[in-house]
């Protein structure tokens, strides 16, 4: 505890770095993963190969992936972000696909039969109804990104992992605890926040609320 009091500025800075790493990685991951999810929903033949690829990438231990990327992008936040984006893909693509597949076929047929184009159907019917499942994927990916993000410190990318690595090297138990607790709080808070949004969406898409 004494460590936190004496180094509050440093901890806050690392916390900020960690949040930055997480948000940038996740933003990029969603920009790639959500459209890919829609794409494999439409293109059935692409489904197997793409999920297989992301499955393989997902199984590479995070430390190995970071080290493998060092020759390409060096010791930097960029390397960490690339790795985090890659890890998030499996969950994001799979949940987007699952969400879209889970939309009642009769509702999709009604939308088609009434003359919606496939884009109109996607935006007005399929994505809204799939949104709770898609957001669940975003939530799981976020928590995983926060966790894996601690390893970014190993390649000089900063974040709360710095406290853990330094603490271990210098046998500073206080430092380790502060780092671990800070990462956990971040993960728990974001998980809780997104879960609340997700539950609201679920209710909304079931159409059981009369709220605005």
């Amino acid at each position: 505890m004494l460590y936190l009091v004496n180094n509050i500025g440093r901890v806050a800075e690392l916390f900020g770095q960690h949040l930055y790493l997480t948000l940038v990685s996740l933003g990029l991951a969603m920009l790639i993963g959500l459209p890919l999810g829609v794409l494999v929903h439409r293109l059935r033949w692409l489904r197997g190969p793409l999920l297989f690829l992301f499955g393989v990438l997902y199984t590479i231990p995070s430390l190995s992936l970071l080290v493998l990327l060092i020759p390409v992008t060096g010791l930097s936040a960029t390397t960490a972000i690339i790795a985090l984006v890659i890890y998030a893909q499996l969950v994001l693509v799979r949940n987007t696909l699952a969400g879209l597949e889970g939309v009642d076929a009769r509702i999709v047929e009604a939308a088609t039969g009434m003359g919606m184009s496939s884009w109109q159907r996607l935006w007005q019917v399929e994505l809204p109804l799939a949104s709770p499942v898609i957001l669940a994927g975003v939530r799981i990916a976020t928590v995983a990104t926060i966790g894996i993000g601690t390893i970014a410190a190993f390649i000089n990318a900063g974040g709360l992992g710095v406290l853990l690595f330094e603490g271990v090297r210098t046998s500073n138990y206080d430092k380790i605890v502060v780092g671990a607790v800070a990462v956990s709080l971040l993960a728990i808070a974001i998980n809780w926040g997104l879960r609340v949004v997700e539950q609201r969406l679920e209710v909304r898409m079931r159409g059981t609320t009369s709220g605005a």
């Binding site: 047929e109 003359g115 909304r204 079931r206 159409g207 009369s210």
Partner: protein, 319 residues
């Protein structure tokens, strides 16, 4: 003029032992209410879905309003054909008003016009305006299907396709929805293709009935002709040709020959009355129950149309 011409249409699905629809030709006049009747797997739904191109014919063509549907873009075609499916297919995340407004908005109607139309449609299907802001799940099954009908009619399409719309609704509400649909039809004169496997529903609603089996049309005719002159043993068993009471339940009173309206000196005012739209079976029951020599047949306004006796009922069955 024929509004829909189905010409030698066949549809084969991959890995199926026989075509789902096999060389079907059918002409549908504007304003007709056609019921497509047959057991599951007979191809009636496949045929229906080829009209709005949810399925494409493997061969043959469908002409709607003089245009080969294959040459019209599917979305344009579908926006001008109403579509109602079983268990409504309402969008659960959209309010009733937004559900009903779907096609008008796709067609780019102005907001005020869409708004007015939603009110009009709710009134048409006997739902309160307060339902505008509700969600489908907050309505009963029967109410949801009324919204389904309202949604299909919102852009005033000349043609409406209905795929077992009342199949999942309890018997009492089904009867009510059927009656309301008939009332709507007498006001709007749409051309309706209505798929059902319920014989009584097909007879009650259809001006003409298309009986299908194994992808082919077995018989296409008026309810009366179907009941009195079934084309083969399949149709005969479907309409229960051997069962007189069953047949009477399929035929309305108006099909039986009536004796002229009673002259003032008879005691016709003491005869039990029956509506011309009721089925003959109900009329027969009333005759037996009351012991009266005849029934007074009245139209919707209660005006006397004539008298119906046992001979008239027998004639309707056997003529």
């Amino acid at each position: 003029m024929k509004l829909i011409e189905i010409e030698q249409v066949t549809r084969t699905f991959a890995h199926a032992p026989r075509p789902a629809v096999d060389g079907v030709s059918l002409s549908v006049a504007a304003g007709a209410f056609i019921t497509l009747l047959g057991p599951s797997g007979c191809g009636k739904t496949t045929l229906l879905k080829m009209v709005n191109r949810l399925y494409e014919p493997s061969s043959g063509r469908i002409v709607v309003n003089g245009e080969d549907t294959a040459t019209v873009s599917p979305t344009t075609l579908r926006r001008h054909i109403g579509y109602v499916i079983q268990q409504t297919g309402l969008f659960p995340h959209l309010r009733i008003e937004d559900n009903i407004a779907t096609v008008p908005r796709l067609l780019g109607w102005e907001k005020a016009r869409v708004d007015a139309r939603v009110d009009e449609m709710l009134a048409l299907v006997n739902l309160p305006l307060a339902y505008r802001s509700r969600f489908p799940r907050q309505l009963s099954g029967g109410e949801q299907q009324r919204v389904g009908v309202a949604r299909a009619l919102a852009a005033d399409p000349p043609i409406v396709l209905m795929d077992e719309p009342f199949g999942a609704i309890d018997a009492i509400n089904r009867t009510r929805l059927q009656d309301e649909l008939l009332q709507i039809q007498t006001r709007l004169h749409k051309t309706i293709l209505f798929v059902t496997h319920d014989v009584e529903e097909a007879f009650k609603l259809g001006d003409r009935i298309v009986v299908m089996r194994e992808g082919k049309v077995v018989q296409e005719d008026t309810p009366l002709a179907l009941a009195t002159a079934p084309a083969d043993a399949f149709v005969a068993s479907l309409v229960g040709a051997d069962d007189m009471l069953r047949r009477l339940s399929l035929l309305p009173v108006s099909l039986a020959p009536l004796s002229p309206p009673a002259s003032p000196d008879t005691l016709s005012s003491e005869l039990p009355t029956v509506a011309a739209t009721q089925e003959l079976r109900a009329a027969l029951g009333l005759l037996l129950q009351s012991g009266a020599p005849a029934l007074l047949v009245v139209d919707e306004d209660g005006k006397s149309l004539g008298q119906l006796n046992f001979g008239g009922i027998r004639h309707a069955l056997l003529h």
